[in-house]
């Protein structure tokens, strides 16, 4: 496990302190928690109601129609897959690089990954319209004699996202096992039985830790290329077509950088209120947020560079269709979302060059919200402006999301936050074993 250099906590902590402080939130919920939970449930009800309405009436109630057949649903799908990226990035890649600052944020980031993929996975189903024909996508011998086309990036996407969900969930669960044993030893009654079953009877013997450490390392090793592959595959859903604005070789790194960017912003959006609500300031310090800010600045700059590259290549190609597509993106009917995207994703994060901003939790929270909004707009701009303004002027059109799509979008956010709220009250939001590992070494003056 990572011990190298977790940023120093504010006060001297013992292993027992870490146990007590991190498990403290797992107690009977109070009024504010219930209000938040019920609000998210109401939002889920709104989204579910809109989806049922769409199922009952037909896909026509959504705004998607020719020429823009990929609208809010696919935008939101890609947005949530992107959000899912930083969890495994923080857990796996930073673990392999022995970046100790991941220790106190990796658990929540991994949870965020899983809930984001769970949310993303709903959108291809919603977008299908007749969701009961979903099984047509599954590879199985049937009388219809059809089989998924393994040359299609859409089928690659199914495999990539489901693999990512499974591996992220396993990685998260493996990391949780020792902490579940901590909870088991702390509680009584039914909760003892539940945590006991989930911890698999873990006792922290040398034999258990030996195999656990190896598995965690291998998991990190395989999850690292997986992180890079998933959003590359998602980008090929677009780049392998001949739609102007999509058919680009930079899409894979551009999407991966954007995914990490949006994911880190969402980690901040979740961790800042969580740290305050659960009084975890001794564990999640300004140093952690500063490190995340640097990652945000790096990936945000890459994303800004990718935006510029797209425009440059369109001009340099001398292809009139490509040039027109990008000119229209910046000045046409969707100019407002485009410039909102540039402002949120490129301009605002440049304030992170200032250390004062990087260490101000309030400023970072506001900035992360801007990036979240900007990254949703980014996907909207890429998908909708390209489809709305393809080759033939006779085939051009304008897409406006319907109330059904907006309601489902709101419902998806509530669905995501609902799971995160449940997680925050039932499982440790910080890895107890990893924090204690650091503290145990610190006792002996080891860095």
């Amino acid at each position: 496990m990572a011990t190298a250099e977790m940023d120093t906590p504010r006060r001297h902590l013992t292993l027992a302190d870490a146990n007590r402080d991190i498990t403290r939130p797992i107690a009977k919920p109070q009024g504010r928690y219930w209000i938040l939970l019920l609000t998210t449930m109401a939002g889920i009800g709104l989204g579910a109601g809109a989806w049922f309405y769409q199922i009952a009436v037909g896909l026509g109630v959504a705004g998607i129609t020719h020429p823009v057949m990929w609208g809010v649903y696919i935008t939101t799908f890609v947005f949530w897959v992107g959000i899912a990226h930083s969890g495994t990035l923080i857990s796996a890649i930073l673990y392999l690089f022995r970046s100790g600052w991941r220790t106190t944020i990796n658990r929540s980031a991994e949870a965020m990954t899983i809930f984001a993929v769970m949310t993303a996975g709903l959108f291809p189903l919603i977008h299908l319209g007749r969701v009961w024909y979903f099984y047509y996508l599954m590879p199985y011998p049937s009388q219809r004699q059809i089989w998924p086309d393994f040359r299609s990036p859409l089928v690659m996407d199914v495999f990539a996202v489901t693999t990512y969900l499974t591996i992220s969930a396993l990685f998260w669960y493996v990391g949780l096992i020792p902490d579940l044993a901590v909870l088991r030893d702390k509680v009584k009654g039914v909760r003892y039985k539940i945590y006991g079953a989930l911890s698999l009877g873990w006792q922290g013997t040398v034999r258990e830790w030996r195999h656990y450490r190896r598995l965690y390392l291998y998991m990190a090793g395989i999850a690292t290329p997986l992180v890079l592959s998933v959003h590359s595959v998602v980008s090929w859903d677009f780049a392998l077509s001949i739609v102007p604005g999509w058919h680009s070789t930079i899409f894979a790194p551009y999407f991966v950088a954007g995914a990490i960017y949006s994911g880190v912003a969402m980690v901040m959006t979740l961790m800042i209120p969580l740290r305050w609500a659960f009084r975890l300031e001794d564990y999640v310090t300004e140093d952690h947020f500063e490190n995340m800010s640097k990652l945000l600045l790096l990936t945000g700059t890459i994303v800004g560079f990718a935006y510029a590259t797209e425009f440059f290549i369109a001009w340099y190609s001398a292809d009139p269709i490509e040039i027109e597509s990008f000119k229209w993106r910046a000045t046409g009917a969707y100019a407002l979302p485009f410039w909102a995207m540039v402002f949120c994703n490129v301009v605002i994060p440049q304030t992170l060059w200032f250390r004062k901003i990087r260490r101000s939790v309030r400023a970072l929270f506001a900035l992360a919200i801007f990036v979240n909004i900007g990254m949703w707009y980014e996907r909207f701009v890429i998908f909708v402006t390209s489809l709305a303004h393809e080759y033939e002027p006779g085939g051009w059109g304008i897409y406006t999301p319907s109330w059904v799509e907006i309601a489902i979008l709101i419902g998806s956010f509530c669905w995501f936050f609902f799971w995160f709220l449940l997680f925050a009250k039932t499982l440790p939001v910080i890895s107890i074993a990893e924090v204690k590992e650091h503290l145990a070494h610190e006792q002996h003056g080891e860095s």
Binding site: P139, R151, L200, L226, E437, A440
Partner: protein, 166 residues
């Protein structure tokens, strides 16, 4: 289990105790630790784990499954799309990769369960809840008269609590 159980305050105290107990001939120790520790593994002379082999087998199985699923079924359901060959390796590599990763992870988890002999319902009689908080435990199996000398040895190694178990 019959023997002596020592509770220790620190990781380094535990490592020192293990080394002294092993030097005194007690090789069959059971160690409980609240954190993962390469130092304890080294003191116990443990250097390898079969989890890697399981993961490798899982990876090879996944890659093979990827080849069979993509190439095999494309030949079984021949339908030319995009003018590409029936067995189009570049796109199929994505499926091979995803299935390699998937089965590596699943086999690794199975290996963890098999080699740690988990899940279990009943915890060891020598396990104490302190061992998941801030204490390390060393259990020295000993029978009859041997328990007395083992108890003294555990005390000498700096245990903060010593229990003699039947």
């Amino acid at each position: 289990m019959s023997g002596v159980l020592g509770h220790y305050d620190t990781l380094h105290g535990t490592v020192d105790a293990i080394e002294r107990l092993r030097a005194a001939g007690h090789k069959d120790l059971e160690i409980y630790s609240p954190i993962p520790s390469p130092e304890i593994e080294e003191a116990m002379d443990i250097h390898s784990s079969p989890v890697g082999l399981w993961a490798l087998i899982g990876g090879i199985t996944g890659c093979t499954t990827g080849v069979l699923l993509t190439a095999g079924t494309s030949l079984g359901y021949p339908l030319v799309t995009q003018g590409k060959p029936m067995v189009s390796l570049p796109p199929f590599v994505v499926f091979m990769f995803e299935l390699t990763v998937l089965l590596t992870g699943i086999f690794g988890l199975v290996a963890l369960l098999v080699h740690t002999r988990r899940p279990v319902i009943k915890l060891d009689s020598t396990y104490r809840t302190d061992f998941s908080v801030d204490k390390w435990g060393i259990f020295v199996p000993a029978e009859g008269d041997g328990r007395g000398s083992a108890e003294q040895l555990v005390r000498d190694t700096g245990a903060v609590v010593v229990e003699v178990t039947e």
